[in-house]
Subunit: 390 residues, 2 copies
């Protein structure tokens, strides 16, 4: 086991009707005027924004709004948010939505207190050393951004999609999580969220660090819960307990507890990020394609941890590591298919993917070699992309 | 699933040599003079106290010391600590030890800022509303106090052993956790710690709340890790990874993550607390006796969750719930025995236990009925105690 530091400072408030407590929680984090960040119109049409803003008004917290965040959020809206914060004297961020909305709010929270351009944090020119406090009202369980110090933003000019991680500054102070708000999520978004949260665990799980049984077992436990509950939420979108279990699993998948004490991989996320950046695919759907592709390649290169996953998570009963790993990949793909997810690039709607550009950009962003479990050279990366063209 | 709030604000710093960072962490929590609380002389003889105090001096943090905390810590030393804090102008607590040392420091941290007697918090006359900040150097993985807002103190005058729980004020700001410090723990203390941490999970796991698959699977995961690693630490006390896994499991067992979204039981802890208070037995050893006794009784009254535990944690393959539960209890007792733990009151060294007094005091402290999974009446409690006299 490697030395590690773990802290999960976010106060998670999960349950029916908990969005009514948003105002009180914003006041507890010491804010008097917040920027409410949201995505499309559904948060308003559903009445959620109204209820949240009513709870702010009830405790005397002022607010301004900024809507329009899109999936794979980009830099222009972050700059717009920073301007609003400065102009309006805002002292806190309140994203109401999923990962894209939360990540946009995080970038605004850091950028508003920084003299230069916020992209400096993403291109490595600066490190986040302060940020406005952030509280979250979560509506999409997937990205785990409600419990992480991470933010992922795409630069519009060159479609570079970059993830930053901070231990402290970008961790939300609270996350209001009402599973009822997810009853009306479209099936494909629910399924993509499941692939996203499973991937967050698997990026941490596939590690060469030995002697991490406690972290392994916790990670497997969250995966087992997701595999049990995901078919339930697909079949019964209004099943409260199933929705609640998926929502909580999505948080534990990414708050760091599944990675304690080991070197993590994150190559599959990088492989997917290039698909999202170039072709605008949904992140979770892209992961359902790229993660099994990466695992299948690993079965031939370094099968032992893929095999342990196959045995403990999917109950594969095969002694040979390579064969067990390959059977685990088959079952994972079957599971993704059963949720209606794509497992090839063609099924993502991309007919002639530009493999050269994908490979080049992946290594530009992740270096050569890339990943930790089995460091990828460009020829490895090419084989992985090519294996799932159709 | 019930509505819940979860926050784990403690910064866990786990690894080789991490006690050298204590001074820096104390400074980060804003303290200039701390009370170092410890137990017997082993912390000094081993050189640990010296290294910790050297790290304080290196960053300009002053300290005073108070040793002599005993297992099942009592109120007089808490009052002595409160006096020292006030007299010396101490602004933070630094317990170096296990649960008894940490719980004593927590009671001092709350009592020092309270006008009345600190016992008011324990007898229900007052609620902790502020406390001095606490940082921990952990030497015994067992009680989980390094990651909880709880404190357990026994009043010497009438041997009442009371546990209090706060969401925030008594949670340590940091916990320094070096598994190497546990290499020299006596075998019986290691084993008692294992029983203690398993019990913390099981008190949360045995619940009638349905629809908590994610929390169930996390709890089972930590139990599975403990069951794998405990025999290793017994056989090889200097196995770093095994010690590290046990240490981290002990924290996750009690930081609340294994209880999210459900009503917890805690009757078995109450049954054990009376044995500790009357006969001074080691808490973990008492739990190895009383928890299986409670479970065996439950197999006849409300077997379903005991049966799920038997199947998922001990791999019992029996369809009937009662029979599966009973087999699970047998395997748990065998596991405890394999670690050298007692499983009867006689094996605790108590030849003629005063069952009347145990039953009376248990219900005085826990009410009638007591516990949540299956509320105990005095006749239930009597049967449970009697079943494990020898």
């Amino acid at each position: 086991m490697d030395n590690f530091t773990f802290c999960s400072p976010t106060r998670y408030v999960l349950g029916r009707g908990v969005e009514a407590r948003t105002g009180e929680l914003v006041r507890e984090m010491g804010c008097r005027k917040v920027l409410v960040v949201y995505g499309g119109g559904s948060a308003r049409r559903s009445g959620l924004l109204g209820r949240v803003e009513e709870s702010l008004t009830a405790v005397g917290v002022e607010f301004v709004e900024m809507g329009g965040v899109q999936p794979n959020p980009t830099d222009p809206l972050v700059r717009e948010g920073i301007e609003i914060v400065r102009r309006e004297g805002v002292d806190g961020l309140l994203p109401v939505g999923g990962g894209s909305v939360i990540d946009t709010a995080k970038a605004i929270a850091a950028g508003a207190l920084y003299d230069g351009d916020f992209w400096d944090f993403f291109c490595g020119k600066a490190v986040v050393g302060k940020a406005l406090p952030i509280g979250v009202v979560l509506t999409i369980p997937a990205a785990g951004s409600e419990g992480s110090g991470n933010s992922v933003i795409t630069r519009q000019s060159d479609l570079r999609k970059i993830s930053i991680r901070t231990d402290f500054w970008l961790c939300p102070k609270f996350a209001v999580m009402n599973p009822e708000l997810t009853f009306t999520l479209p099936a494909e978004q629910t399924a993509a969220g499941v692939a996203d949260m499973m991937s967050h665990i698997m990026e941490r799980y596939f590690s060469t660090t030995e002697g991490v049984e406690t972290t392994d077992r916790v990670a497997e436990g969250v995966l087992l819960a997701i595999i049990t509950e995901a078919p339930r939420v697909m079949a019964e979108p209004g099943n409260y307990d199933a929705r609640a279990n998926i929502m909580w699993a999505g948080t534990l998948a990414h708050n760091g507890v599944c990675g304690c004490g080991r070197r993590e991989d994150w190559a599959s996320h990088g492989l997917e990020h290039e698909l999202s950046a170039l072709y605008g695919v949904t992140h979770g759907a892209g992961l359902a394609v790229m993660f099994p592709a990466w695992m299948e390649y690993m079965a031939g290169k370094r099968p032992f941890k893929i095999a342990q996953y196959a045995r403990r998570v999917f109950g594969v009963d095969i002694a040979d590591d390579r064969e067990a790993a390959l059977e685990g990949v088959r079952r994972l793909r079957d599971f993704f298919r059963s949720l209606g997810l794509p497992v090839t690039i063609a099924e993502l709607g991309i007919e002639n993917p530009d493999i050269d550009t994908l490979v080049t950009r992946f290594h530009e962003n992740k270096g050569i070699p890339a990943g930790a479990y089995y460091p990828l050279q460009p020829e490895d990366t090419r084989t992985i992309y090519t294996s799932v063209i159709k």
